[in-house]
């Protein structure tokens, strides 16, 4: 977190006491220079037992002129090289000015959780020797069309400054940023030693931009494009990688939905001996996959393309490649994904690798529980499992026709049990499971889906080491959630999405308050929570009372009154990211967080009961908060209520690139 950059926490005080491990017995009033020299004389900065008394003899002052602050700073710099965690570094930088400087010079990984919290110039001014940059832009709800396009988070201003400031930059990781082809061109040209580019949930560029990266970044080891939108400029970027052996270790482009030059890809893989991770897009057929696997048996992470025969008719007499042998040859394979447009007959090819798999992503594969079970029952080492669950029939229109509804309900009951069966198989085998994600294949809310509380209960009983769960379902019971809270005590992330809005416990008809209450009460390590279903203020009371470690909270269609939000803002001291939609929280609730907003990365509230005046009050009370009111279109709000509030702390004040549908309140 960028807590170190908030004004009230920045240490301006030269005379602050040295930290505990540099205890030298000197009173704080002794000037820093002497303290520092004292330490230099004693040989190292790490001793806690050597105590130099306050009445230091004259020799110290002699040393003082020969060993100025630079000595300590050099010592510090050498020690701080070993400090890698950014939270530790933030803490170290607050000790005193000297430590602040030394830390700034030695920080090589720059993490900026909100690209608008600090300007590129300010970042460059403080950190001089950065080799790796992580930048995050839009808030997460932008992924669900809750924010108009062109809101901002442009990489352009950053890449210009980075290009000038850090010619030795090696790694860039961007999440939810808006990037142009020109940005990528500048990046490719500016950093001769550039090694790793990872783009997650980004947009704004095309294969043109990729071409720049491929052709100019000769030291490239990692090119990972994850859930990023890439327009098809009809440029053959794959063939632009340099000739000869490459440094490539990871090439992930499953989201690049453009046809690629397969011959060029095959040659690229053949000349990339260090390649460990390869994720293909759906334009690569299973036959082509075979050819790649044969060339790269050293792969550890493989994402298949289209997992089935291509439309191109095979010549008569063409034998099917031996897919099983190809998989068996990949002895190091631990992570499998892809399986798009799957022909289930080909699933058996992966059996040889199941025993070694630690990560399996079937979330794009339309398979049944019966097809899943033979795979899963071999995956004893599985730690991460993502699966998509098909939703079958939409019979909402039969509300009125009770006979048909009854028949369908019976069928659905049968199908329900079949898909919960898949999860039961997981629960029976995957004792090492740490992360589970169950996605809906047909993401509509009024459709009956075939996983339910039965699946969740089974997982909670079988996978006791579970740390992270994302579970979409149509219906749920408090009992199953409570069971998970008592069985899975390692849970850090609990995200339950009951897709039908305001759905109560379908067995008891009660709100889902007790279930979520049990989660926050029993799961002592919980840092991320997403709630759903019918929830009253009581649920938020539990969250405020027990959710002391929660950093990220996601709320949708929940709560009764302002009290709900108040409980959370007053009760959760570690809260950093709060995203709320369609919940009846108003200005009074917003006011109750004034004490905390500078400690947060952002607050998002859309379709709640906030008025413009209410938001204005916050903006006036907190000058270092940027308070954005976002309309969904160009017209003025007809309501009294603000459609979307997005506010975040920032050292820079209102941004200059806000589009016209954004109003920044002062």
């Amino acid at each position: 977190m960028r807590q170190d950059l908030t004004v009230q926490q920045m240490s301006e005080d030269d005379d602050r006491s040295p930290p505990l491990d540099l205890r030298c017995g000197a009173a704080p009033s002794i000037n820093r220079a002497r303290n520092c020299s004292g330490e230099a004389v004693s040989g190292s900065g790490s001793s806690t037992s050597s105590s130099i008394p306050a009445s230091v003899p004259v020799t110290v002052t002699e040393y003082q002129s020969q060993y100025p602050d630079q000595v300590l700073e050099i010592v510090l710099e050498n020690v701080l090289q070993f400090l890698t965690s950014r939270r530790d570094r933030n803490a170290a930088s607050l000790v005193c000015k000297s430590w602040w400087r030394a830390e700034a010079l030695t920080r090589s990984e720059l993490f900026i959780g909100n690209c608008y919290a600090v300007s590129p110039d300010r970042a460059r001014g403080r950190f001089r020797r950065v080799r790796s940059v992580v930048l995050k832009g839009k808030p997460r709800f932008a992924d669900f069309n809750l924010m108009p396009p062109d809101w901002g988070a442009h990489f352009g201003p950053w890449v210009c400054v980075l290009a000038n400031a850090y010619p030795w930059l090696e790694k860039v990781y961007l999440k939810r940023m808006s990037i142009t082809d020109d940005d990528l061109a500048l990046l490719a040209e500016s950093f001769s030693g550039f090694k790793e580019l990872t783009l997650v949930c980004c947009e704004g560029f095309g294969t043109c931009g990729l071409a720049f990266i491929a052709s100019k970044c000769r030291q490239l080891r990692v090119l990972d494009l994850i859930e990023t939108e890439v327009t098809d400029d009809e440029v053959d970027w794959i063939s632009l990688f340099p000739e000869g052996e490459t440094c490539l270790e990871s090439l992930i482009f499953d989201c690049v939905d453009c046809a690629i030059n397969f011959e060029a890809l095959e040659k690229l893989v053949a000349r990339s001996p260090f390649l460990r991770k390869l994720r293909l897009n759906r334009h690569v057929s299973i036959r082509q996959l075979y050819r790649l696997m044969v060339r790269a048996p050293q792969l550890t992470h493989l994402g298949t393309g289209k997992y089935g025969p291509s439309e191109v008719a095979q010549r008569q007499g063409d034998t099917e490649p031996d897919y099983i042998a190809a998989f068996a040859a990949c002895k190091s394979l631990v992570c499998l994904s892809g399986f798009r447009e799957i022909t289930p007959d080909y699933l058996s090819a992966i059996y040889p690798v199941c025993a070694n798999l630690t990560s399996l992503n079937f979330s794009y594969a339309t398979i049944t529980a019966d097809q899943l079970k033979p795979v899963i029952c071999n995956c004893h080492k599985l730690q991460i499992f993502w699966v998509g669950v098909p939703c079958v029939i939409d019979y909402q229109c039969f509300e009125e026709i009770w006979v048909l509804k009854l028949i369908l309900a019976v069928i659905m009951q049968a199908l329900d049990s079949i898909c919960d069966e898949g999860l039961q198989a997981v629960a029976a085998t995957c004792k090492e499971l740490r992360e589970l994600r169950v996605f809906p294949m047909n993401a509509q809310e009024d459709v009956e889906g075939p996983v339910s509380e039965v699946g969740l209960q089974a997982i909670s009983e079988g996978c006791r080491k579970l740390q992270s769960i994302l579970y979409f379902c149509q219906r749920m019971t408090n009992a199953a959630v409570i069971a998970m809270s008592s069985n899975c005590l390692e849970l850090e992330v609990f995200r339950l999405c009951i897709m039908g809005r305001h759905r109560p416990d379908h067995a008891t008809g009660e709100p889902m308050d007790e279930g979520f209450g049990a989660i926050v009460r029993n799961c002592r390590k919980l840092t991320r929570l997403a709630v759903s279903g019918l929830l009253t203020d009581r649920a938020f009371g539990y969250i405020g009372k027990y959710g002391k470690l929660i950093r990220t909270l996601s709320v949708a269609f929940a709560g009764d009154s302002d009290m709900g939000l108040k409980y959370v803002l007053e009760g959760c001291p570690k809260l950093q990211k709060l995203e709320i939609r369609d919940s009846p929280f108003g200005d009074a609730a917003l006011r109750s967080g004034l004490h905390h907003y500078y400690n947060m990365r952002f607050l998002w509230m859309s379709s709640c009961r906030l008025t413009r005046q209410g938001c204005q009050e916050i903006a006036q009370a907190m000058p270092r908060l940027v308070v954005e009111v976002i309309r969904s279109d160009d017209e003025e709000e007809t309501d009294n209520y603000v459609e979307t509030l997005y506010m975040y702390r920032s050292l820079e004040g209102p941004r200059h690139d806000a589009p016209k549908f954004v109003t920044i309140l002062r």
Binding site: F141, D143, F144, N145, L146, P148, P149, E227, E229, T231, D232, C255, D257, R340, E341, P344, S363, Y364, T366, I367, T368, A369, D370, Q371, G388, P390, V392, I393, D394, Y395, Q396, C397, F398, I401, L404, I411, L415, F439, P440, M441, A443, Q444, E445, D446, F472, C497, M499, R501, A556, R581, D582, S607, S632, D633, D634, E635, E637, T638, D639, Y641
Partner: protein, 192 residues
């Protein structure tokens, strides 16, 4: 009915629908004060007990009850990324959409729409400066700001530029390679 069979059928085949074409089973719950999208004036919702029923234009009758991914459903719910939604569909038909005079292209997946009306509404959302006005026999696309009229055209498999709307929807989806909203003044000689 075996599960395998059901899973392999395209979605529209597994939907059992009754009622007039265009009957959507889903609720159209929208919050108070939300601007109504154009699309909502088109949906026929016989089964809903809400008093938001509107009339349906006959040439926009939808064979299936699938609700288009614009304003008729609650936006962004359930919270599944568009990327995942389209990836799970299996096949998709992405085409570029260009608007004369606009500096950026957009891509749309034609397979998620079921009619020209749905497509045009989606374009209205994407290019927010445009409005679609329905006249008696044709639709007009108009720039809000300067009143310039656009004509939706597309390039087909043979490389010819055609007017959008001339052929049945499914035929259009199959043959369309890209879409261009051409200024009316330039669209001479297309169509009849």
């Amino acid at each position: 009915m075996s599960p395998e069979k059901v899973n392999h059928l395209p979605e529209s085949d597994t939907k059992l629908t009754l009622g007039l074409p265009g009957a959507g089973g889903e609720c159209h719950r929208t919050k108070a004060g939300t601007k109504r999208g154009f699309l909502e004036t088109v949906d026929l919702n016989l089964m809903s007990s809400s008093n938001d029923n509107k009339h349906c234009e006959e040439n926009d009758a939808m064979a299936s009850s699938k609700t288009p991914a614009t304003k008729a459903q609650v936006v962004g719910w359930p919270p599944v990324r568009a990327y995942r939604k389209s990836a799970m569909k299996g096949s998709c038909k992405f085409v570029k959409v260009a608007v004369d005079g606009a500096p950026y292209l957009r891509k749309v997946d034609l397979e998620i729409y079921h009619s020209y009306q749905e497509l045009l509404s989606a374009l209205e959302d994407m290019f927010s400066f445009l409005t679609i006005r329905n006249h008696v026999n044709e639709r007009k696309i108009i720039d809000n700001v300067n009143g310039v009229e656009y004509v939706p055209t597309y390039e087909d498999k043979d490389g010819d530029w055609m007017l959008v709307g001339d052929v049945p929807w499914k035929m259009f989806v199959e043959s369309c390679k890209r879409v261009r909203l051409m200024k009316s003044s330039e669209a001479i000689g297309l169509g009849n």
